[in-house]
């Protein structure tokens, strides 16, 4: 054990250490406080009557019987809430030509999807509210439902909502030029039509909200299971006309989110109005059935794509058409166009390809709205690119690993730019691929595969390279006119007993944000982690900031905390120097004690400094400044996004008689820049991979021709469970970003970005001897049996 000392050997060096979560014990002990647990005095409960039709006109609503039911305090229709709430429209200025119909909490004349909330009942208990919902009578006139993406775009097609000119929400084209000629002259062309099913987040804790309007002060407090409290503070303020300073949004413990809990939902907006109308706190918690028909869905793409290569297997060009269906309107305030936009911009991103053409059509239909969900657009872009590359490898006669070696952007070629305009600071594709091959024992697996095939056992190996967008700047939403912050803010302060509190705008939904912020603050201050308390998720307590979305908590929130802690440290040392009559440069902090920077001799504890500052300022010289609280904001500068990269491998066994796939093992090598906490990065990877494998094999929101969701329960909608999941082995490469001191990029979406692509390639590898293939996820047994010609 004679290794040289590293930065990690210094006391309180927490950046890079697997510190376990301070909140884990509390949550495991059942002491979590979720919105669902919240009981306020005089609180009422809301339930909603939902549309049984995918598209219909509301002819008449009769609520008299419901109003007379026991415990009922209010029955409210669209017209009642429209008097209070301004409508919203989910478009952004930088998506040119984008359109969508305005939305209100409850509809006035038209319902747009099966499950849409139409009338609200507020009662003393949820059960009474539900009983009263059954007594409401609505006369609907059914309208044609727009379901199919091709019929939706046909001339003269029925429209998904009145007020639309046609069913096209957004259309976009990228073209570097000369694509047709390149394809005509190419030695090899591969092409495929891909289908990516709809799925949804299925968080353990469903959406939950308690709105509490106090008419005496005109003040609104909303306890909201969301990732983005500040965004909702702004929205509730603007749409209900309450000054921002009188709107407080509190996001307590949250049982998972994955992007699902940062969008505006009709019920949530309605609950605010219901509280204003009743003057009492009103609670709504979606039950599981409601979650399936009202939480955003994700994906739903049909992609036709082709790739041209030279005879050595070098990619010359790609040509892509993505049609994605988003429901009857675009989600507010982040829109439903970001996913498709990212698909067409991320395709081919890991490779040296220079020529590219893509067309995106975002289409309305009468189903649940779709919008941003973990790894927005990434899995689609990755699967299309990686599957075509495997098809190309087979055609050229190269091994899948070899064709990637040939085409990856070399690690020494940075900085560089993708044909779609993404600028890459520094990525490590080659290192990651080399590491993955070692971890998988790639050559050995290929040998084993050949041996087993001869015995009728059909295994497949798939690999998939990815890039991930993280640390987004205002280029993401701000420039489009959305009041969604790209910066974060933190207040770090020393308490009178010498402990430290960090109030920060990034939020926690189970991923460990609070843990890493605590690590960074403790590390930078030189105090034990246990003495730092991190507070998040309350607009009245923490500074304004972007909170949690798109992989920004560590990269942007972490840098905010780092810079804030450095400023506080300087203030502490300056004060210590005054007290000790020393120079600040001669002092440093270690384990919560100010020590001599050279000898390490203890001089004064942080607790003693705090005691003097807070209680005996009379003992300080008149010009001494005891600034033991620091407020600091940080906005990303430099590159508009910090791209991360990595590669995944998947090993499967296909039962060719049953169409069932056993996932034997999965590997990830990822590069998220500076790793703050390896344990948490590994957890993010594993969780992300499981979500990706869910999409690949299990999860799909199925609709019938009438636009009805046919599997909206946890018995029918299959989430991936532990028994079906493989061991997931993770390796790391660290290429810190030079844009920040911390050097961290995001890692929360990387697992999901490429897992389904690796699985798709693995299954196709297993299918190869049968001369068949699959280009649709989820890869269900029925679809595989069909591909195999067994049914």
């Amino acid at each position: 054990m004679n290794r040289p000392l590293s930065a990690l050997d210094r006391p309180n060096s927490y950046i890079g250490r697997s510190v376990s979560r301070p909140n884990a014990k509390r949550l495991l002990a059942g002491r979590g406080r979720y919105v669902t647990d919240l009981v306020l005095p005089r609180m009422l409960h809301a339930a909603f009557l939902r549309s049984p039709y995918a598209h219909a006109r509301i002819v008449a609503i009769d609520v008299d019987a419901a109003r007379a039911m026991p415990g009922v305090r209010l029955v409210a229709t669209g017209a009642d809430l429209a008097k209070l709430c301004k409508p919203w429209t989910g478009t952004l200025d930088h998506f040119k030509g984008m359109t969508s119909v305005p939305q209100l909490p409850l509809p006035l004349e038209e319902v747009l999807w099966a499950g849409q909330a139409v009338v609200a009942v507020v009662a003393d208990s949820r059960a009474e509210a539900e009983d009263a919902v059954e007594a409401i009578v609505i006369e609907f006139e059914e309208l044609p439902a727009v379901v199919d993406i091709d019929l939706a775009r046909a001339p003269g097609a029925d429209r998904a909502a009145a007020g639309l000119e046609n069913n096209l929400c957004f259309h976009s084209r990228l073209d570097t030029g000369g694509i047709d000629t390149i394809f005509a002259d190419a030695a090899h062309v591969v092409e495929e039509e891909f289908h990516f099913g709809r799925h949804t987040a299925v968080t353990l804790e469903p959406r939950a909200i308690v709105a509490d309007y106090d008419c005496s002060e005109g003040r609104l407090t909303v306890h909201h299971a969301t990732q983005t409290p500040y965004q909702f503070q702004d929205l509730y303020s603007r749409h209900y006309g309450i000054p921002e300073a009188r709107v407080r949004v509190i996001a307590p413990d949250i049982g998972g989110s994955f992007g699902m809990k940062l969008h505006v939902y009709h019920e949530d907006m309605a609950v605010v109005g219901l509280s204003m109308l009743t003057g009492r706190p009103v609670k709504f918690v979606a039950d599981r059935v409601e979650s399936f028909v009202s939480d955003i869905h994700a994906r739903d793409h049909r992609v036709r794509a082709r790739m041209a290569l030279d005879d050595a297997g070098t990619i010359l060009a790609m040509d892509v058409e993505d049609v994605t269906a988003i429901g009857p309107f675009s989600t507010y305030p982040r829109t439903s166009a970001v996913e498709g936009n990212q698909v067409i911009r991320l395709i081919g991103a890991p490779y040296r390809m220079r020529n590219y053409r893509a067309e995106l059509s975002v289409v309305f239909q009468n189903k649940v709205q779709t919008s941003q969900y973990r790894a927005v657009g990434h899995p689609i872009a990755c699967a299309v690119t990686e599957r075509l590359l495997d098809m190309a490898a087979a055609k050229v006669g190269l091994d899948p690993a070899a064709i990637r070696e040939r085409n990856l952007i070399p690690d020494d070629a940075y900085p560089c730019e993708s044909p779609t305009g993404f600028r890459f600071e520094a990525l490590s594709h080659q290192q990651c691929l080399a590491r993955l091959k070692t971890m998988m024992g790639y050559e050995r697996l290929r040998d084993e595969q050949a041996t087993l095939r001869a015995r009728g056992i059909h295994r497949g190996i798939g690999i998939a390279t990815f890039v991930e967008i993280s640390n987004p700047s205002p280029a993401f939403y701000g420039i489009g006119g959305a009041r969604i912050s790209a910066q974060d803010g933190a207040i770090v302060k020393v308490t009178p007993s010498g402990e430290v509190r960090c109030l920060i705008s990034v939020t926690e939904q189970g991923q460990g944000t609070e843990t890493i912020i605590g690590q960074i603050v403790a590390d930078q201050l030189g105090i034990p982690c246990e003495r730092v308390q991190v507070v998040t998720g309350d607009t009245e307590v923490t500074p304004h900031g972007g909170a949690t979305w798109a992989c920004r908590g560590a990269g942007i929130g972490g840098e905010t905390a780092l810079q804030a802690a450095r400023r506080l440290r300087a203030n502490i040392l300056a004060l210590a120097a005054t007290i000790l009559q020393a120079k600040p440069e001669a002092l440093t902090l270690q384990d919560g004690i100010v020590v001599d920077a050279v000898t390490g001799a203890e001089r004064i504890s942080l607790a003693e400094i705090a005691r003097i500052a807070y209680f005996r300022s009379d003992t300080l010289p008149p010009d001494a400044s005891a600034q033991l609280s620091v407020a600091h904001h940080y906005a990303p500068q430099g590159y508009p996004f910090a791209f991360t990269n990595g590669i995944q491998g998947c090993h499967v066994e296909l039962d060719v008689e049953t169409g069932f796939v056993k996932i034997l093992k999965h590997w990830v090598v990822e590069d998220c820049g500076r790793i703050i906490n390896p344990l948490l990065v590994d957890e993010q990877m594993r969780g992300g991979v499981v979500q990706g494998l869910g999409a690949a094999f299990f999860e799909e929101c199925l609709y019938n021709d009438g636009g009805q969701l046919t599997n909206g329960s946890l018995a029918d909608y299959l989430v991936p469970m532990a028994c079906e999941m493989p061991d997931i082995e993770i390796g790391h490469v660290e290429t810190p970003t030079a844009d920040t001191v911390l050097g961290a990029k995001g890692c929360g979406e990387a697992g999901t970005a490429a897992a389904s692509a690796a699985a798709l390639n693995a299954v196709n590898d297993a299918l190869a001897p049968f001369g068949t293939s699959i280009a649709q996820i989820p890869m269900t047994p029925a679809r595989l049996l069909k591909a195999l010609g067994r049914i």
């Binding site: 539900e130 059954e134 059935v289 008689e657 049953t658 069932f660 299990f698 199925l702 019938n704 046919t710 599997n711 018995a715 299959l718 991936p720 469970m721 028994c723 079906e724 269900t780 047994p781 029925a782 049996l785 067994r790 049914i791």
Partner: protein, 249 residues
């Protein structure tokens, strides 16, 4: 309970039978194993008498949902509910069990073959209670196998099957085969049973039994699982189960 939670049923009265001692207990008498209706799924999983004399129940139990549900669900409840996708009702058929039913008129015993009548429909009349399940105790001359094909461990299966052969020597003397998740009730595969009876259990016999399933099963067609797929999986499954028995322990 799920029906209540989904507001699909709103009965005026619920009667809690969990504390009636007569509905409990597992004992072996005169070649029959008597299982009180309140026997938990978890007991089917580990009770030594069940392992020895109703091995199909023990084999099926680990596939029924997850431990939390097996600790609460009862064999009587499962059989009375008669969910066609459920494991235990089909095993009652495969084992040739008899249901002991009590009503105001006294008690009666109904063989499994007559008990399961249609979708969620059993021989139970209004006002009657399922008291116990009587299973002919299996012995060394019996060979059995159970398996199911489910998307995830613990899910209701796409197809499941229990096989019970009486095979004291090399030939199959008699066979009872029951499928679940292939129709409105648990279903006995009579043609497949006939194909095996009196034959050596070899590859040819297995193929005949597989082929016979098209006479026995007429599975429903739904978009996720087409009828042809269920029938195909049923064939694969019975082939594997019979193969397992033929290979011996």
């Amino acid at each position: 309970m799920p029906a209540l939670a989904l507001r699909l049923q709103a009965p005026e009265r619920l009667i809690d039978i969990a504390h009636i001692p007569d509905l409990r207990g597992i004992d072996l008498r005169d070649g029959w194993l008597r299982l009180g209706a309140l026997t938990r799924h978890a007991e089917a999983h580990d009770h030594p008498l069940i392992a020895a004399h109703a091995p199909l129940l023990a084999l099926a139990a680990p596939h029924v949902a997850h431990p939390a549900i097996r600790n609460r669900g009862t064999l009587g409840g499962s059989v009375a509910l008669a969910d066609p996708a459920s494991e235990f009702p089909a095993m009652m058929l495969a084992m040739g069990a008899e249901m002991e039913i009590a009503g105001l008129q006294g008690t009666r015993r109904v063989p499994a073959d007559e008990f399961f009548q249609d979708l969620y429909q059993t021989a139970l009349e209004p006002g009657e209670l399922l008291v116990a399940l009587h299973v002919p105790a299996a012995g060394p001359q019996h060979r059995c196998a159970f398996d199911e094909i489910a998307r995830r461990r613990g899910d209701y299966a796409l197809v499941g099957c229990g096989v019970m052969l009486t095979a004291p020597a090399r030939e199959v003397e008699s066979a009872r085969i029951a499928f679940f998740s292939v129709g409105p009730t648990p279903i006995r595969a009579l043609a497949a049973e006939a194909a095996l009876t009196g034959r050596r259990l070899d590859g040819e016999a297995i193929r005949l039994a597989q082929a016979a399933l098209s006479q026995d099963l007429d599975p429903p067609d739904d978009e996720q699982v087409p009828a042809a797929m269920r029938l195909h999986l049923a064939r694969v499954l019975i082939g594997r189960l019979l193969g397992r028995i033929a290979e011996g322990p």
